[in-house]
């Protein structure tokens, strides 16, 4: 009964999404205020039904209703409750339901926080987002209904994939989807602006906080996924250039380009077309990511789906949105006027250059991700693109990006003299180089060129970011007061850039200086590794709630001093007959020690993996800074105060312009 209610709620949500699309968009085109006014209530009502539908599925999981096929396939009576909740989205159908729910949440958020925006604009945004809703709800109802039943119901379920039975994986998908789907808001704003016919700069200002929030969620989602892979896969790796990771990484890169391009369009009234294109691109890549992960064209832990009709449906959806928005773009964009004037050496140019480089970087990732699929589709054999490709292309591309970050932030809008910029920044450059080389040499290793480069560019970002404060405060009388009242967007930018520097340091040092050892050990054995002594104290059996574990207890000491005791488990989940490794990790700001149990070799001996990973935490610490920067920037009052001005002083202009919209 509950499942049927959920199914019914989903159908109702589709009906409302259709209303939410047709009336507001048509109303905006025909100046029909009543039709336009349907946008907000429709968006909120859709959310009510989506929440109902999602709650019904969650209830089916919590109450072990195995007559629902999805529950039978992905849950089990032995499964702890928290994982029954995450099992809701630990599968194809449920994760798409989550996608649609989150889309509905974003749409409702737009309906709530857009009171100062002109009605016809909000109507169009909500209408476009409704169109996306229709696509995904149809997809759910036609190909991936999560509420399908089977009779007779099995006694017990097939259990959730043990890899997904983890706290990190409970929050990773919702975070990631908040980011993915959040780009639909920027997309909605861009399409609404194109539909309106005049691509002014106001839409750029309006979409800035939304885009920044989406990107912030995506940052956290990706970082959580990386952290999860690190401790859960038992390999000590934190990024594999796996197609599924790339699928989330590409919109993230374009998101960065979009955030900066929106800022330029907002402030300087230039690059309007490029910004719109980036907004379309970011959302397209979100859809492409969904297609790659959900269609089953890839093969990895995340690919739950194997049914080709689903793949074709998402591909059609992708084609519709990409094709539709590009046609609209081609039709409307030529009429755009870029009012601002700037010279080739100016902050505008540097920001443009970096956004182009971000797009190029995205394309290199895209190529490596889909090339194997294309070759396979053409029947030219099977191949894969190794991780070294991505490293050797992506990292060199990031070097000019990092250089330009530092220069751009200290270059004036409109025009600047490169000589003056050089004079301003030369000591910072020298400082980063000297300190970078010194610090790189302190970590003695044969591969210190990479280490020195990594640390130098990170210091460059840090110094140039701090220098912007010096420039900001230099000529002000009351420095403390200025600092306190400084715009939040400025602080957000600095925090995010410093976060990027922290991540660069983490990636560089972990990649260059991690050491690992695969060792055969019996209880009582000890091994010297990375300056520590690892002593295998014992190996014992241990029952878990829904698994049987073998646990190794490893004592770690340094120079005779006890450092820590680590435990690594090898778990067998009997329902799926699937083994899993739970790594033992001793975290630290400057190094992680990492032990994972390999395989039993004979009666007593096991193989063990030992890792020493310096600065690995910095990778995720940097991501937290980037997200914090995003939050600060999104909270900047300037976006909202100006909204007010627009609804007040500029409302007349907007209304006067409205007839042109047809």
């Amino acid at each position: 009964m509950i499942a049927e209610l959920g199914h019914f709620a989903l159908i109702m949500a589709l009906g409302i999404a259709i209303v939410q699309t047709i009336f507001p968009i048509a109303g905006a085109a025909r100046d029909n205020l009543v039709w336009m006014s349907l946008a907000r209530p429709a968006a909120r009502l859709q959310l009510v039904f989506m929440l109902g539908s999602f709650a019904a599925l969650a209830w089916s999981f919590l109450s072990n209703d195995f007559s629902v096929i999805l529950v039978a396939q992905h849950s089990n009576t032995q499964l702890p409750s928290i994982y029954r909740i995450s099992a809701v989205w630990g599968n194809h159908e449920g994760s798409l339901l989550l996608w649609a729910l989150i889309l509905s949440i974003w749409t409702t958020a737009v309906s709530l926080f857009s009171r100062r925006l002109p009605d016809f604009f909000v109507a169009r945004v909500i209408g476009v987002m409704g169109l996306v809703s229709i696509g995904f709800l149809l997809f759910l109802l036609l190909t991936s209904n999560p509420f399908n039943r089977q009779f007779p119901a099995p006694m017990d379920g097939a259990d959730l994939n043990p890899l997904l039975q983890d706290l990190g994986l409970v929050i990773h998908p919702p975070m990631l989807y908040m980011g993915y789907v959040g780009f639909s808001v920027a997309f909605g704003f861009a399409i609404a602006a194109l539909l309106g016919g005049h691509l002014d700069t106001t839409w750029a200002r309006w979409s800035r906080p939304w885009t920044i929030m989406a990107w912030t969620f995506l940052t956290l989602g990706i970082a959580l996924g990386s952290w999860w892979a690190y401790y859960e896969l038992g390999w000590g790796g934190w990024w594999f250039w796996d197609p599924v990771e790339n699928a989330s990484f590409m919109p993230w890169l374009v998101g960065i380009a979009l955030i900066h391009s929106l800022a330029v369009t907002d402030k300087r009234e230039v690059f309007k077309n490029w910004t719109v294109l980036l907004a379309i691109c970011a959302f397209t890549l979100s859809l492409l990511g969904t297609f790659l992960v959900r269609s089953g064209v890839l093969t990895s832990v995340h690919a739950f789906a194997t049914d080709p009709t689903r793949g074709i449906f998402i591909l059609c959806l992708l084609g519709f949105f990409v094709g539709g928005s590009l046609i609209l773009y081609a039709w409307r964009a030529p009429y755009t006027l870029n009012a601002g004037r700037f010279r080739p050496f100016s902050r505008e140019s540097l920001l443009l250059l970096n956004s182009v480089l971000m797009m190029v970087a995205m394309f290199t990732v895209l190529l490596g991700t889909i090339y194997p699929l294309i070759i396979e589709a053409l029947g030219r054999g099977k191949l894969s693109v190794g991780a070294p490709y991505f490293n050797s292309v992506f990292i060199p591309l990031m070097l000019p990006v990092v250089a330009i970050i530092g220069i751009g932030a200290n270059t004036r809008w409109k025009q600047d003299e490169w000589r003056q910029v050089w004079r301003r920044l030369r000591f910072l450059l020298a400082g980063s180089l000297v300190l970078g080389i010194a610090m790189g040499l302190m970590l003695v290793d044969s591969r210190y060129i990479q280490t020195i480069t990594g640390i130098t560019v990170a210091l460059w970002i840090l110094f140039t970011s701090l220098y912007t404060y010096y420039s900001y405060l230099k000529d002000r009388k009351n420095k403390l007061e200025s600092l306190r009242n400084g715009p939040l967007g400025f602080y957000g930018m600095t925090v995010a850039h410093i976060g990027f520097a922290i991540t660069i340091i983490g990636i560089t040092i972990t990649t260059q200086h991690s050491v690992d050892l695969h060792e055969r050990m019996e209880p009582g054995d000890q091994v010297e590794f990375a300056g520590y002594t690892f002593h295998l104290d014992s190996i014992r059996s241990l029952p878990g709630p829904n698994y049987q574990a073998t646990e190794a207890i490893v004592g770690v000491s340094k120079n005779g001093q006890h450092v820590t005791t680590m435990r690594s488990q090898k778990r067998i989940y009997p329902v799926r007959q699937m083994p899993m490794t739970e790594a033992g990790i001793d975290p630290g700001l400057t190094r992680d020690l990492y032990v994972s149990l390999g395989e039993p070799l004979d009666d007593k001996a096991w193989s063990l993996r030992l890792y020493h990973k310096p600065f690995v935490r910095w990778i995720w610490l940097g991501a937290i800074f980037m997200a914090l920067g995003g939050l600060l920037a999104a909270a900047d009052r300037r976006y909202r105060i100006r909204h007010e001005q627009y609804s007040g002083s500029q409302a007349g202009i907007v209304l006067a312009a409205a007839p042109v919209d047809r």
Partner: protein, 152 residues
Amino acid sequence: MSPRRKRIILILFVLAGMGIASVLLLTAFEKNLLYFYSPSQVAAGEAPSTRAFRIGGLVMKNSVQRNPDSLEVSFVITDTVNTTKIVYDGILPDLFREGQGIVANGKLVNTGVFQAQEVLAKHDENYMPPEVADALAKAGGTYPLPENHKSK
């Protein structure tokens, strides 16, 4: 500065970016393409002898042999028609077991043995790497392996 010159500079920026990227791409791309070969293709001499590639198949029953003093391990994989011996020095993945489909990255060494750099088994008991499923279908053998199917 005229809009025309601005546009030219913009295009130059894009071209320069694309140019650098293409050079990096083409060199790195070619080096890192890993093609997949089945044991039958290896037996027919189609696989490259110097370049790294991927191989996949089912792990034969009773073919896993360990060196008692180290982590060296060898096993035989099959596409039900031909077999290839694989040697590996390291820890096998959690889901590695006999009868399971696996994929390995590495090179052929002189003796016609495949030296694996990495062995991959997927995290699902029903899961068969698609390359392996494909290779089995092409070879036309039967799956699951009959119990008496012995290594050559």
